[in-house]
């Protein structure tokens, strides 16, 4: 089972924007999120734009400074650690971004891109560097690895680039990885390939992953737990199978309904949609944040905020219906 690798306790990230000469707006991007990552487990954080999922991922890595709450990594409280004290952390915790076109510096060769993390962390031996690079290229199935060293990002396909991004994250042998929409910019038909590969690597290395996505369909094959986020808060949490088969929160239900499977009958039916737009975190509605769009809202929803409660079987939901 193992100890938790990473614990996020009531993590908050607020941004302060200046409005006019003296006014201030507080954007509550992440507003009290608690998650625990055990070794070898993937937690999918699902949400739309404005949900705060990307902010959560970056804050968990201290790429953004948390406003409140705690980040405990391998038992050490790193919430307030300064940049210079975190080099050890940077080796063990990495991030993969969604846009393979932007995540690689177009002016660096693949060799230079993969060499960088090793160089930054003090590896000077050219042989060791080369060995590690070749080994990680094989791990992401870019073979023969030597052929890729001298290429530049624009010479590779989207899928290949994303594999380089993954390879780069693996070089320092991290134990925790944030994967921010790793396949959303790749064709639907290639997503399975990358995710399957990624799953294999994850299993082999016993990585803990925060898998951030807006596409709930992929969570079925690539996560152990799902946390559904809305406006900075988790509204539902549970094992993947459980949440997908038995979604409790109206928002989760809407997200599932919104995703089509390839079925010719789809065109005859209009999907049940949640009206309106995903709101901006600048002015969250009072009470339950989802209530203006919720098809099942009733009395307490516009005044009281529901708490996250366990509804049995490691399944949590924050909704007045329960």
């Amino acid at each position: 089972m193992g100890e938790a690798i990473l614990e996020l306790r009531n993590l908050k990230k607020y941004y302060t924007l200046r409005k006019g000469l003296f006014g201030k707006i507080i954007v509550k991007a992440v507003d009290g999120v608690s998650l625990t990552f055990k070794p070898g487990e993937i937690i999918a954080v699902v949400g739309e734009s404005g949900s705060g999922k990307t902010t959560l991922g970056k804050t968990s890595l201290k790429l953004l400074e948390p406003t409140d709450g705690q980040i405990i990594f391998e038992g050490r409280d790193i919430t307030n650690s300064k940049k210079d004290d975190l080099k050890w952390f940077r080796k063990k915790a990495q991030i993969i971004f969604q846009d393979p076109f932007q995540a690689l510096n177009p002016y660096h060769s693949i060799y230079q891109i993969l060499k960088e993390p090793l160089e930054v962390h003090g590896e000077k031996d050219e042989d060791i560097i080369m060995k590690k690079i070749l080994s990680v290229l094989e791990e992401v199935r870019l073979v023969p690895p030597e052929e890729f060293l001298h290429k530049y990002p624009h010479m590779l396909s989207g899928g290949q680039r994303q594999r380089i991004v993954i390879a780069r994250a693996l070089l320092l042998d991290p134990i925790y990885l944030v994967a921010d929409e790793p396949v959303s910019m790749i064709d639907a038909s290639s997503r399975a390939e990358i995710l399957t590969l990624f799953r294999e690597i994850q299993k082999a290395r016993k990585l803990s992953i925060m898998y951030i996505t807006h596409d709930i369909a992929t969570t079925k094959y690539f996560s152990d737990w799902i946390a559904v986020m809305y406006l900075g808060r988790i509204v539902e949490y549970g094992r993947t199978k459980e949440v997908l088969n038995n979604p409790l929160h109206p928002y989760t239900q809407a997200l599932i309904n919104a995703v089509p499977d390839p079925d010719p009958n789809n065109r005859f039916v209009k999907r049940p949609v949640v009206p309106g737009e995903p709101p901006s975190p600048i002015n969250p509605p009072p009470g339950c944040r989802f209530h203006p769009r919720c098809p099942k809202r009733f009395e307490p929803c516009d005044t009281e905020e529901p708490k996250l409660i366990e509804v049995g079987n490691d399944h949590y939901v924050a909704c007045h219906l329960y």
Binding site: D187, H214, A254, N257, P260, D261, R271, P275, E277, P278
Partner: protein
């Protein structure tokens, strides 16, 4: 069954410093009136180029442009550029381009951008054009107050509705949409798809829906055209293509989609499609095909008819 659009042996090649890109290489399909055809394929298979070819949006380095494109029985290729511009483009056929929601002019009000083609092409007065624009806004589910807003004041989903309104403003018979929901959140995507379903039903719009996501295409398409490396490898009613795909690529494509409602583990298809510069002169799918045999490496298969309306480009179905 009446056909709104008939495309026969359409070719579009571009000349680049690296060579000639055979983007659209002898493509044939049709769009029955009031129906939607989904054109599905990976990036770079030529689906956007096919749309450009139909709408005659040709770049300066066009090398070959020929074929037959019949709209209501009239071959559009016979028309000269001026006539095409005046009478066909935007009036009979219009298009929502990929990423259009992000290419709205940021310094003009959205109402004006919808009204403008009416003022310029149809010589309408400002009042008339604006009232038509307001009509369009209602059609796509936008409040008419939004006519005076600027693009940055609207969310992604709203901007996409504006773009659809712009495409519909001259009541075209055929609407081509290229990845209209790729940058949107899933819930907004569902809203837009519902809107398209509405338009199709109420106004009997014919549509071509281009996407890389076959599941999304199934949400609106009556017919499916599966594209691979510049060719349409399978075309037919959605029921047949989705439930009983005949081309090995279509089969693999469908198998690779993660499904929420079924317990099928997605398979994946290793390898990449051939480039469009000097593509193979034999079956382009040969190197990745699980049913490949000798002939596939020597010739290009023809388009074989295997059902009332079902066509496949594969030697397995030579009849």
């Amino acid at each position: 069954m009446e056909l709104q659009l008939e495309v026969n042996n359409l070719y579009l090649y571009y000349k680049t410093y690296k060579g000639i890109v055979e983007a659209v290489d002898g493509v044939s399909f049709y769009v029955p009136k009031g129906m939607a055809v989904g054109v599905v394929g990976e990036s770079g298979c030529g689906k956007s180029s096919t749309a450009n070819a139909i709408l005659r949006v040709l770049p300066k380095n066009t090398y070959k442009y020929e074929g037959i494109v019949k709209l209501d029985g009239i071959n559009l290729m016979d028309l000269d550029d001026d006539t095409f511009n005046r009478e066909v483009r935007w009036r009979k056929i219009s298009m929502v381009f990929q990423g259009a929601m992000n290419s709205l002019n940021p310094v003009l009000k959205v109402g004006f951008q919808v009204a403008e083609p009416l003022i310029i092409h149809q010589g309408m007065s400002k009042e008339e054009a604006y009232s038509k624009a307001a009509e369009m806004f209602e059609l796509v589910g936008l409040p008419t107050q939004f006519l005076d807003r600027y693009p940055h004041e609207l969310s992604g989903g709203m901007r996409q509705r504006v773009v659809i309104a712009m495409a519909m403003v001259m009541n075209p018979k055929l609407l081509i949409l290229d990845e209209p929901t790729s940058a949107l959140d899933v819930s907004i995507q569902a809203q837009i798809m519902n809107l398209l379903k509405d338009l199709k039903e109420k106004y009997k719009m014919s549509m071509i829906f281009i996407t890389h996501d076959i599941a999304l295409a199934s949400d609106i398409s009556d017919y499916m055209a599966v594209m691979y490396a510049g060719h349409i490898v399978e075309f037919g009613p959605s029921e047949e293509v989705l439930l009983n795909p005949q081309h090995p690529y279509s089969q693999k494509l469908l198998a690779s989609i993660p499904r929420l409602r079924e317990d099928k583990e997605p398979e994946f298809l290793p390898g990449t499609p051939p480039g469009l510069i000097n593509p193979p002169r034999y079956c382009r799918f040969a190197n990745r095909c699980h049913k490949v045999f000798d002939r596939c490496w020597n010739e290009e298969p023809q388009y074989y008819k295997i059902g009332k309306e079902h066509y496949v480009k594969c030697f397995l179905h030579e009849s």
